[in-house]
Amino acid sequence: MMKNTLTLCLLLLTAISISAQNKYTLSGYVKDKKNGEEIIGATIAVKSLGKGTVTNSYGFYSLTLPEGSYTVTYSFVGYKATEQSVILNKNITLNVELNTEDIELQEVEVTAEKTKTAQEKPISMLTLEVAKAKELPALFGEVDLLKSIQLLPGIQAAGEGNAGFNVRGGANDQNLILLDEATVYNASHLFGFFSVFNADAIKDVDIYKGGIPAKYGGRLSSLLDIRMRDGNNKKFSGSGGIGLISSRLTLEGPIQKEKSSFIISGRRTYADLFLKLSPNKDLRNNTLYFYDFNAKANYKLSDKDRIYLSGYFGRDVLGLANLFGFDWGNATATLRWNHIYGSKLFSNITLIYSNFDYGINIDVSETQNFSVKSGIDDIGLKADYAYYANPNSTIYFGGQTVWHKFSPGKFEPIRSTSIFQTDILPSKNALESSVYIDHKYTFKKRLDIRYGLRFTAFDVLGKSTEYLWDKTNPDLPVTDTLEFASLKKIKSYYGPEPRIALSYSLNENMALKTSWDHTYQFIHQLSNSATTFPTDLWVPSGLHIKPQISDQYALGFFHTLKKGWEYSVELYYKDMKNQIDYRDNANLVFNRLIERELLFGKGWSYGSEFLIMKNNGKLTGWIAYTLSKTMRQVEGINNNEPYAVKNDRRHNISFVSTYKFTERISLSLTWVYATGNAVTFPGGRYEFDGEILAFYPRRSNYRMPAYHRGDLSLTINGKKKEKRRFESSWNFSVYNFYNRANAFSITFRQQKDENGNPTGRTEAVQTTLFKLIPSITWNFKF
C-alpha cells in the first residue's frame, strides 16, 4: 500500500511538470494592512481567465498562469478588494496587504464581490468568524468559540452550557481539535462549561464535519482547525476585557518591524479572589479558578523562510482548604518552519508537543493522604507540502509521526505516615505514523475534484504490562499477564484512508457537492457520565480495543443569492465500526483492567442539514435546522438490539441573528431548540438493604423533554476618535432570557420527609442548571 502511494505521488508529479511549459508563477502572502497578520482563505482571482486560488493556513498563495498581462483581484470577507496589474513573463513574488472595510463604504458597495461563498467552500466545511462569535451572547459573558460552532448545522452541544460537541452523531472524543497543528486533548475548562480557546488569541476557526482532507487523520468525526493570531508586526498594540467571571489581556507587537512579531494572551477567572476577602479562614483557603496562556512569535528569515513558535498552557485548579486539591490542564507547543521551494512548492515542517494531565491530592489526616496523577503526552513531527502546479491543480502531500505516551495513573501516599501505598498503572506507548497525498483538480472550471489517500500505521509499544482474560466471561480472574520490554511491539494496526470530494458548479451561484471519507481513530477517551470529566482516560487501541473506523457519504446543494444571502442543504450517512460503549456499572477510575469494562459494536448516523445565511447588511445571521438519527448496536446491551445514543436528537434548530443599528450599537439574538436526549428511566422499584432501588429494563428507553433557550446580547462600541488609539466597548448578555427551566437531568430517588427520613416512597427530580443569567463585559483595545 505504501509503495503504491509513493508511485502514485511520483506519477502525478511527473505528469504535472511535463504540462507546465511557458508558464510562470505568481506567488506571495496576503496580509492585513493594519497589523500584518496573514489572511487565511483570501481569494486571488484573475477575472479574464476565470481562474483563481485561495491563500493557505499561512496566508500563502501560488498561481501558475500562461505568460501574459493580468489584472489580479485580491479579496477577503470584511476587507477592501485590491486589484494589481501583473506582467507575468517570469516568476513573480507579490505580497499584498488588504485594508479592512470601513462600514460606511460597505453600505455603498452592497454589491461588492463576496469572496468565500458557501458555493466555493468544500462540502461539510464551515468557517466561524471570530469577530462574529464575539458579538453573540455567551454564558457568563465568556466568548466561547466552541459554543458558537454548536450553533451550526450538524454540530450539537454535548449538554447544557457545555463546550463539548458532537458532529453528525459522533462522540465527543471523535473530534480532532488542533490548535496551531497541536492536538488539544481536553478542550474545556471547569468540567465542560468553558472552552480553552481565548477568542482574543484566535485568528481562524474551520470545522470539517466531513470531507476531511487527507492531510488530517486520527479522529472519526470532525476536524476543528484553530489558528492562533501571529501578532501585529507593525506596531505595538493590546486588547482585553473585564467580565463577570474572568479578565483577559492580549499584547502584541513587532519584535523587528515587518520581520517578526509576537502575541501573548492571558485569561484568568477570579471567582476565588472574592473568597479571599471572606472573614472565614477556611473559605479563604479555597481555590477554584482556571487560566489560559497563549503565546506566539514568528520570524521572517527571508522571503522564502518563516519560523513560528506557538504555545498554549491552561489549567483548572480546584481546592478545598488543604484537604482536597484537583487540577488539570493542557499544554501544547509547536515550532513550524515554512519554506517555499521555487514559487510553487510550499512546505511546512512542524514539531509538535501536546500534553494533558490531571492531579488529585487528598490529605484528610496523617494517615489518610494520597495523590493521583495521570496524563498523556504527544511528541510529533509533521511535514506538509503543497505543490501549486497550475490554477487547476494543486497537490498536497506529506507525512506525520507522533509518539504518544499514556500514563493512566500513579497513586502515591503524600506522607510516609499514610496508610496508602504506591500503585502505578502500567503506562503505554504508541507510535502513530501516516503519509498522505491529496490532489485537487478543476475540470473545465466546473468540476472540482479532490481525491486523496492517507495511510496510517499505529504501533502499540512497550514498556508495558498487558492482561488477558476470558472474553466470554470477563468476570473471571485474569488468565495471563504479559510483560513487554521497552519498544517491544505489542500490537499493530494499519489501514488506508481514502477521501474524495467532488464539487460541480451548476452555474455561477449554484453548486452540487458530494464526498466520501474513510477515517480511522486509534485513541479513545473513556467516559460514562453525562459530561466528560477531567479524569476520563485517553487509551490507545491495542490488544483489547480495535481502532474505530468510519465511512461517511455526504451530498449537498449550495446556492449563493444576491445581497449576501445563501442557503444550502446537505445529506449525510455515516457508518461507524468498533464503537465503544460500557458495561453496566463500568468502573473507569484507576482500573488496570479498564478494557474489561468496555463493549464494542457498530454505530450509524444519518441526517439532513439545512442552512440559510445572510452575510452582509444591517441584519446578519443564519437559521440552521438538522434532522438526524444516530443509533448504535452493541453486543451485551439491550439484548444486542439497536438503541439510540444519548445525543440522538431528532430535531435541532438554531437561529442566530445580529442587527447593527449603527456602527456603534448592535443587538444579537440566538435561539436554540433540540429534541431531548435519549435517557434510561426505571420500569420498577425494589428494596434492598433498606434502600429503594430503580430497576432499569433497557438503555435509552425514554426521552428527555425538548430543550430550548433564547439568549440576547447588546454590544455598544465607544466613540471612535481619530487621534485616540484607545477604543472600548460594553457587552451586555442575557443567557436564557425567557428563563426556561430546561431539564438537564431527571433522576429517580427515595422520597424523604422534612426531617430527612425516608418515607418509603419514590420521586422523580428534575435538575436545571442555568436559568436566566445576565452578564456584563467591558472590552478594550489600543
Partner: protein, 266 residues
Amino acid sequence: MNKLFLISIISLVLFSSCQKVIKIDLKDEETRLVVESLISDNTEPFKVRLTLLAPYFADNNPPVSTAQVYISDDTGNTDTLFYSGNGFYQTGSNKQAVLGRTYFLKIIFEGKEYNAQSTMPANKMLLDSITYIYNQASAFIEEGYNVILNAQDNPNFNDYYRFIFWKNGVIQTDPFKYFVTDDAQVQGSYIVTQVPYNYQSGDTATVQIQCIDKKYYDYLNAIANQTQASGGPFDPIPANPPTNLNNGALGYFACVTKDTKFIVLP
C-alpha cells in the same frame, strides 16, 4: 479510589443548581422476584427476604409468602427456611457461615426455580480498636467527635471490605451510606481511618467491618452509584446492580464476615 467522592465535592462547590420534583409517566415492567439475603459468621438464623418488583411510584413492594427456600453448602448441609412474615424466611435454629465455604440458595416460587451461590471470604478482618478525635468547628467540619477505626489488613489476601457505622443504633448515611473498598492500595497496611460522621458527647458509636467478595463489592458499589446520583453532570449512566441470582430475579445473596465494636464518646 472513589469517583463519587470527587464528584460530590465538586458538585457541592459548583452547582447550587435548582431541583424540583416532577410528575412523570413510566411504563411498568413485568413483575420479578427480588431476593435479599446476607449470611455471616455471626451466630444467628440464616435469613432471606423475598419481595416482588413493583411499579416505580408504588408505595411498597409486596412480600412473597408462598416460596420454598433452601440454603445448602459445599459440605453437603442443607437447611430449609420457614416463612416468618413480611417476606422473611429463616432457619429454625442459629447458624454460622464458615470461612471459605461456598453456600447455595435455592428458591422455588410459582413453579420457577431461582439459584444463587456465594463464597464466604477466606479471611476475616478484625477491628483492633475504635478511637476518636475532637474537632473544633470550621467551614467543613462540625464541632464534635470523629471516630477512627484501627485494623490490620492481612497481606496474604486480596480483600474487599464494607464498613458500617451506627450512631446510637441508627445506621449513618450522610454523606455516604456505602463505604466499600478493596485493599489494593493498602495491602498489609495497618489501617487508621477517620469516619466522616459527627458524634457528640454521650453518643454510642458502633463500627462494623465486613469482609465481602468481589461480586458483592461490585453490587454495593452499584447501589452506591445509584442512590447517590446527584442529578449533576457527572452521574454515571443508570444501570442495575449485577445480581448473582438467575432466571431474572433481582437482589443478592451475600456471604460476609462481621466484626463489630462500639464505644461511648466521653
